[in-house]
């Protein structure tokens, strides 16, 4: 309901979304960050893999804007390319976990017999702390970008499933669903057209937060050395690499950490703004 009407009534939606200036600023910052990473080949001053022995651990300055790492590679250029990996993983996890969560949640909410077993399964999945479960899954699947996305999607899908189930239970009882059933619409059609369309708002809000959590989790996994291949630069692997030089060159850790924090903070602010704009019934104070 909220999504359909809000999206149809776009000026109203954007007024609500940007009523808090912080949300507008966050969106601008996030878009700029994404553009910087997408257009990294055009913007980066140097090849992110090009090594230079003489530039080893150069402090930030005119030649190297954000300094050079232990192999003399330009930190700023690496940061832009690493951002592509970190942001893609975040987006990938948000999309895949939403897809899995929607299927599980719709089934649990729509078919009474499936509700109890699926809800208990979701409870059990949520009992595992996210990093711990992700570590276990990645250790079995092997460390690669795709496997990290799969592992984190399994970790976060129950959050979406819970929200979808709860909303489906409410919508299932509404007169228009009853009308659709009596008109002979197929269950699949009712679930996708009538139910899913009307519960999109909470899903979008939650997916935004998962985008942020997944970026933090990926950085954590990479820092622990159980994430993506260490030779692929992501913001997490950059911090892990820089760790042994922390006493001589703290900037190697400083900048990737700032990049993660900016991305995650702006996503959380956008998520908050979306929640207020799409679904005013949800608490503003949390």
């Amino acid at each position: 309901m909220a999504a359909a009407s809000a999206v149809a009534d776009q000026p109203k939606f954007f007024t609500a979304l940007f009523s808090r200036r912080a949300v507008l600023i966050a969106l601008v910052i996030f878009v700029v960050l994404v553009l910087l990473c997408v257009f990294a080949p055009l913007i980066a001053p140097a090849d992110p893999a090009k090594m230079s022995v003489r530039a080893r651990l150069t402090a930030p300055g005119a030649d190297y804007l954000l300094g050079a790492d232990a192999f003399g590679r330009d930190v700023f250029s690496r940061l832009l390319y690493a951002g592509r990996v970190s942001l893609s993983i975040g987006l990938g996890v948000a999309a895949v976990s939403s897809a899995i969560g929607i299927v599980i949640g719709l089934m649990a909410g729509f078919f009474r017999r499936l509700d109890a077993p699926m809800s208990r399964l979701v409870d059990a999945m949520m009992a595992f702390p996210d990093i711990l479960l992700a570590i276990a899954l990645v250790s079995i699947l092997g460390g690669s970008i795709v496997n990290v996305v799969i592992a984190l999607s399994i970790v976060y899908a129950p959050r979406i499933a819970r929200i979808v189930r709860a909303s489906t239970l409410v919508i299932r009882e509404l007169p228009y669903v009853e009308a659709a059933v009596s008109l002979g619409s197929s269950t699949f059609f009712i679930m996708t057209t009538h139910v899913l369309r009307n519960i999109l708002s909470p899903i979008i809000v939650q997916a935004t937060f998962i985008f942020a959590y997944a970026m933090l989790a990926e950085a954590g996994l990479s820092f622990l050395g159980v994430g993506i291949d260490p030779s692929t630069p992501s913001w997490g692997t950059m911090i892990n690499e820089g760790r042994q030089y922390i006493d001589q060159a703290a900037f190697l850790i400083f900048f990737p950490g700032i990049a993660i924090s900016i991305a995650v903070l702006s996503l959380q602010l956008i998520g908050d703004g979306l929640r207020d704009a799409l679904d005013p019934r949800l608490s503003k104070d949390l």
């Binding site: 912080a22 059990a124 595992f128 702390p129 276990a136 622990l224 850790i253 950490g257 903070l265």
Partner: protein, 313 residues
């Protein structure tokens, strides 16, 4: 009420049973032979076959699953491939630093976040309220290992205010060992205070709008008494819930924080187990932590009954 408690305890066992099933499946569903995966590429076929027999992987999967669940129910989580000791023993030997790290950071978070949360709600919309919320959101956006590394570099190495890493030598006294946990607890506490602050503020806001608060004020009761006696008491329920939920965050945070500060706790053990392919230890840690989480949440749910007399099941 007794029926409700019984129902909840039964539900807890079902969830723990599912936790065991998931932990079992995670290792068994791995592509390829788990024994070969555990031994790594250098293993000879004979070694792999021997490990398969040792772990019972040559038996039908249903039998394996049944044995696994029955053993786990009896407190047997298998044997560590690296330490050649029961997993429960290996985990227990690493439990002390993790438990105290989690405890100290929870206390730190509560001491920081609850008063600020209450005050922010009380002065809703004020500058302090706005800054508290923004700071909490910022704290939740910064990777805890990054904060840990920065604090370690500047507060421990440069200023020498805290021990930089480790957990003392083998002869370190209990007090000395706890000294090593101060900085890590602050780092982990900062992350967790964000969630607690937001919850405290939100639940206080709900309560402060209630009729009985207005009544208390109108009969001339002093503000501190209104806020602390009337409001806080009723806001306690959501705050207890969030402490239960924080447990998962604390454990996730502990894994990373122990790695930063080189503390020989359970988190560090799990990461080393991944690098050593010691799957029984990973599986055991998953089961222990998830079961604790389920148990803690049951306890917090039951605490409602004592805190709020209106809650009747």
């Amino acid at each position: 009420m007794a029926r409700y408690i019984l129902k909840r305890i039964l539900g807890m066992f079902i969830v723990i049973f599912l936790v065991l099933t998931i932990a079992f499946l995670i290792v068994r569903l791995a592509p390829g032979d788990p024994a070969a995966l555990m031994l790594g590429p250098e293993a000879t076929p004979e070694e792999t076959a021997a490990l398969r027999t040792e772990l019972g992987l040559d038996r039908p999967i249903v039998v394996q699953y049944f044995t696994f669940v029955v053993n786990a129910a009896q407190g047997d989580l298998g044997t560590s491939l690296f330490f050649r000791q029961p997993v429960t023993q290996v985990l227990a030997a690493r439990a002390e630093p993790t438990i105290f790290l989690a405890l100290f950071s929870l206390v730190f978070a509560l001491v920081i976040a609850t008063p600020i949360g209450i005050y922010a709600a009380y002065r809703r919309g004020s500058f302090l309220d706005q800054s508290a919320i923004s700071t909490a959101m910022l704290a939740a956006s910064i990777p805890s290992f990054w904060t840990g590394l920065m604090f370690q570099r500047y507060l421990a190495t440069d200023l020498g205010l805290f021990p930089a890493s480790g957990y003392g030598g083998p002869d370190a006294s209990f007090i000395e060992r706890m000294g090593y946990l101060i900085l890590p607890s602050i780092v982990l506490g900062i992350v967790n205070s964000a969630l607690i602050l937001r919850f405290t503020r939100a639940s206080m806001l709900d309560i402060l709008g209630e009729d009985y608060i207005r009544t208390a004020r109108s009969k001339g009761m002093g503000e501190p008494r209104v806020v602390l006696r009337h409001a806080l008491k009723n806001a306690a329920i959501p705050i207890i819930t969030v402490i239960g939920l924080t447990f998962a965050l604390l454990v996730s945070g502990a894994v990373v924080t122990e790695r930063v500060f080189n503390i020989p706790g359970m988190g560090n053990l799990v990461v080393s187990a991944v690098l050593r392919r010691d799957y029984p230890v990973i599986q055991g840690a998953l089961i222990v932590v998830a079961s604790l989480y389920v148990l803690i949440n049951l306890v917090t749910d039951l605490l409602y009954l004592t805190v709020d007399k209106r809650v009747r099941y």
